[in-house]
Symmetry: C2
């Protein structure tokens, strides 16, 4: 049996989803909680890696309890897992999926959200949850520039080194930049993302607003495939995996 | 010279505003920061005590640098203090006030906000910032009951013991209960509040929604002056001082 679960997590205290030698990971916490409730090792598969400090509003993962494991009705799984998990991880949905379903390879689209705390004075409630930039950002200029990301491109210019993917073509299906009070939000949906892609896009958009990169240059930067032409990498703690479509 | 400052703070790591023998206080942090930038002890006066763990969106306090202290333009004070303060306290406004102004006694009205995380599963982003109640609350019933708090009454029934105030009459000028997604918000304005008053009001409103206290009983509870007739005290970490009017 394969069960698809959804979780929210505050990534502050974790080295990301993926189990790492050093540091506590979300997957490590889920592995442990699942093993405790089933009293045996459970295969856990996530929808994507996330960087250290990155948050999720709706992270999807599957668990595969073996045939001989205790039968737990899947609707009881979120509460059963939450009792074992730290309070900064919360499982909120569970459903059975066919064996052919794969948490990572079956993904059709993912949406990320990046939050910028754009008040002149740092908001203590956004600490570790948004990138503080005190200089005013123009969300309309950013929105116009963000539209240039839409389409099917080789996004190598928006990929950090250290990744081993061979196919760097992705299709960005939607982008949006809006302001809610002092918070500027960048949302982007695509069939997949390269390493640090949203964080480099965010950094680039802020440089467009600050006049360091002209909005007409975005397409040129994409087509150059040159990471050095894009903007800085925004910090991990402002990034949220917003949802995943299968 | 007397300067009125406004600050936001996440109260999680503090024993409240007031300096205490044990534990770190917001006032203690401000005292220390002000003394460092003026290079002398500075008198700091807050608009109210707050309980351990309580937050503020707009806490007001004055500082009184002595005549011989270095002259710092008041508009530079928020940044100067913020550099010295922890990131969970943020000063965001400063203005000169007459010597006759008193941060506490000049208050005309204060508004508090209480946040309840009313999703079935705990929201990790509301940890230490909202009271989690998984059983659904009816914000309309709570709103109707909250309106009963409005007016000038002896609110002894909504005061925790351990307070030494002699006058327990307060005038509640506005109340409001609303829902934003899974968050239920209770707002209350008054000319002043008794010890734990908002937290007991909140607890009482939840018991009204859960059918333990009938909404028509609110007035009766107020008039009884009997703390035992009111509901439970909601935890401190859901409470926010929203603003202060002078």
């Amino acid at each position: 049996m394969k069960i698809l679960l959804k979780a929210r997590f505050d990534g502050k205290n974790y080295c990301g989803w993926q189990v790492q030698k050093n540091g506590s990971s979300i997957q490590g916490q889920i592995n442990k909680a699942a093993a405790e409730i089933y009293n045996t090792e459970i295969k856990v598969t996530g929808c994507s890696r996330t960087d250290s400090g990155v948050h999720a509003l709706e992270y999807c993962f599957t668990i595969e309890p073996p045939e001989n494991a205790p039968k737990i009705p899947f609707e009881n799984l979120p509460s059963a897992l939450n009792i074992k998990l730290n309070d900064d991880i919360s499982v909120f949905e569970a459903k059975e999926v066919p064996d052919s379903f794969h948490a990572r390879y079956s993904v059709k689209s993912k949406t990320y959200e990046y939050l910028i705390d754009n008040g002149f004075y740092k908001n203590p409630f956004m600490l570790n949850r948004a990138w503080h930039l005190k200089k005013h950002l123009d969300e309309n200029i950013m929105e116009a520039a963000a539209k240039e990301f839409m389409g099917k491109y080789d996004f190598s210019a928006f990929m950090a080194s250290g990744s081993d993917v061979s196919d760097t073509v992705r299709t960005v299906t939607n982008t949006e930049v809006l302001r809610k009070g002092d918070t500027v939000i960048f949302r982007v949906s695509a069939d997949g993302f390269l390493y640090n892609m949203v964080r480099i896009m965010t950094g680039t958009l802020t440089e467009v607003s600050y006049g360091k990169i002209s909005p007409e240059k975005i397409k040129e930067i994409i087509l150059s495939g040159d990471r050095k032409k894009a903007g800085l990498t925004a910090p991990a703690y402002g990034l949220y995996l917003k949802n995943v479509l299968y």
